[in-house]
Amino acid sequence: MVGNNISRWTMTYFAMALAWLFVALVLMMAGVGYPAAGIASSDTLVLVHAVCIGWLSLAMCGALFQFVPVLVAAPLFSENWALPALGLLSAGLISLLAGFLSLGGRLPPALWLLPLGAVLLVAGFSLVVVDLGLTASLRPTGPARFVLAGLASLCATFVFGAIFAFALAGWTGPVGGFILASGVPLHAIAGLGGWLTLTAMGVSYRLLAMFMLAPDVDDRQSRMTLATGAFAVGLTVAGGSLAIWLASGLNVVLSIAAVFGLASVGLYGRDIAGIFRARKRRHLELNMRMATLSFVGLAAMAVLGIALAATDMFAAHVGAFAFLAVFGWLSGLVLAKLYKIVAFLTWLETYGPVMGRTPTPRVQDLVAEGRATKWFVLYYAAVWSGTLMLLAGEPHLFRAAAAAMTVGVVGIVREVIRIRRLADVASPLRLPGGAIAPHLLFARA
């Protein structure tokens, strides 16, 4: 009745996500989009959506298809939707990016690609939202509640995105253009702050407690963190929409939302520190040490945001702020957790069937942390330098930082592939009687 607890397509989502991450890194190295082009340019739109939909959203969906059933101890509503959703999302993203390229004159004019991409993306994300939402609502406590709030934010994000896509194609008349002119911050905050950050927070509570052998964070405590965060996003979306409708400007709404957002980050920091303090497992594995660096990124983001707002330079440096949010906080956390999740799922898939009947390796025997550490360190160092280069207005040095990030990610991905191939497991234990090596790109049913 609990069913098969290994999600079949999580590895497929991870692989596709990493492919999009490489696309984004190559664009940054090549100087396509911000900072070489303007922050609102079509090239920057290509870059931003390759990162946020292609890399982060697909990686997050892949992780959620595996972990939402674990959070609620029930099978996924429908395992069969995961692959069609991935197909729709990939096709939608390609169409959307082609539409942006056409908008910028890099492709022949074909603006209908934008609404087409939006429709495909909305269809794909809707499958994900319904599938995960119906599963998470079976036991809406603790982390599952964060996921539900994240999914609601995802809906807000794609509704705005779809309106923009139709408006850019000229299919909406003046109303769409009006929303497009001032609604972009709402789209970005709902996506990065609501969907990606709230969901990452929720999943991290359970993963951290599970991997460090700590008690779960008290429900009342995490509820407070979620309430402030969800309020910040909800206020941005609802209050911001109202402000757009009244044409009254977004400053007041966004300022209040920022205060609640900061409070939520502070409460989250308190919760995470509590998990670290209460952990039974004293030794921190690599994924945990690297996740710590992403928490540093989140804290740095809060500090940077306050400093920029206080000096009235937020608008000028919103690119650097977003870069730190996307690569220092979210991508860093996803890469660190992906490293562990792949090892754990590969171990479970390969050795679960023979466990207890024959000696099997430990999860840690699948990884070579010593080798992987340097790639993670290189990645984080490059991200922080890249942020500084953006703040300093040095686009060429930023490209060098992007190149260093790429080297780090190549190293990490190579390690992840070695984990999946069991390449570091010594041979008598590698495939004991009856164990079957896993496929690189999906789990066997």
Partner: protein, 169 residues
């Protein structure tokens, strides 16, 4: 002093029927603070973790003729609890555990490895019980694939998960 409501499922059991719904409806009719006094033709071990999950501690005594009286006493409500996971009728005649494991201080996934190893050593129909710190969600499918049945739930302290596994008979 706890007031106990009597539920005698011996006639139901002698008739070869399933008494679980009778017990659950009696449970639903309890006033706050009331307990349940259950009479059965055997010691209903799997029921204990189900009741623990619902916030009842148990104490049992054997009556004449191998029958049992069990007192289920309400305890202070713990934190929000996971629903009990079952692949078996919670009212089966399960034997006392042949093996008892305390895996609370083992690093995951070591508890899973130990429980599967111990389960494979069980004789037909034998059971093992294990104490854990969390619901072993990744273990359940492995048990299921090997034909084991299990019952599990958090004890009223809210921090210890008790799992009982029964080998196929």
């Amino acid at each position: 002093m706890t007031e106990y409501i009597d539920v005698d499922v011996r006639p139901v059991l002698r008739a070869g029927e399933e008494p679980f719904s009778v017990i659950m409806s009696a449970l639903a009719s309890l006033a706050p603070g009331q307990g349940l006094r259950l009479y059965a033709t055997f010691k209903p071990i799997p029921l204990f973790s189900v009741m623990a999950n619902k916030g009842f501690a148990h104490s049992e005594q054997e009556l004449e003729g191998g029958e049992w009286e069990v007192l289920f006493t309400p305890v202070e409500a713990g934190p929000e609890q996971a629903p009990v996971a079952v692949t078996a009728s919670p009212f089966g005649n399960w034997p006392e555990p042949a093996v008892k494991l305390d895996s609370r201080d083992l690093d995951p996934p070591e508890p899973m490895v130990r429980i599967l190893a111990a389960a494979d050593q069980l004789g037909p129909g034998q059971t093992l019980s294990a104490l854990l710190r969390r619901e072993p969600v990744f273990l359940f499918p492995q048990l299921e694939k090997r034909g084991f049945r299990w019952l599990g739930g958090f004890l009223p302290d809210g921090a210890t998960y008790e799992l009982t596994v029964r080998a196929p008979s």
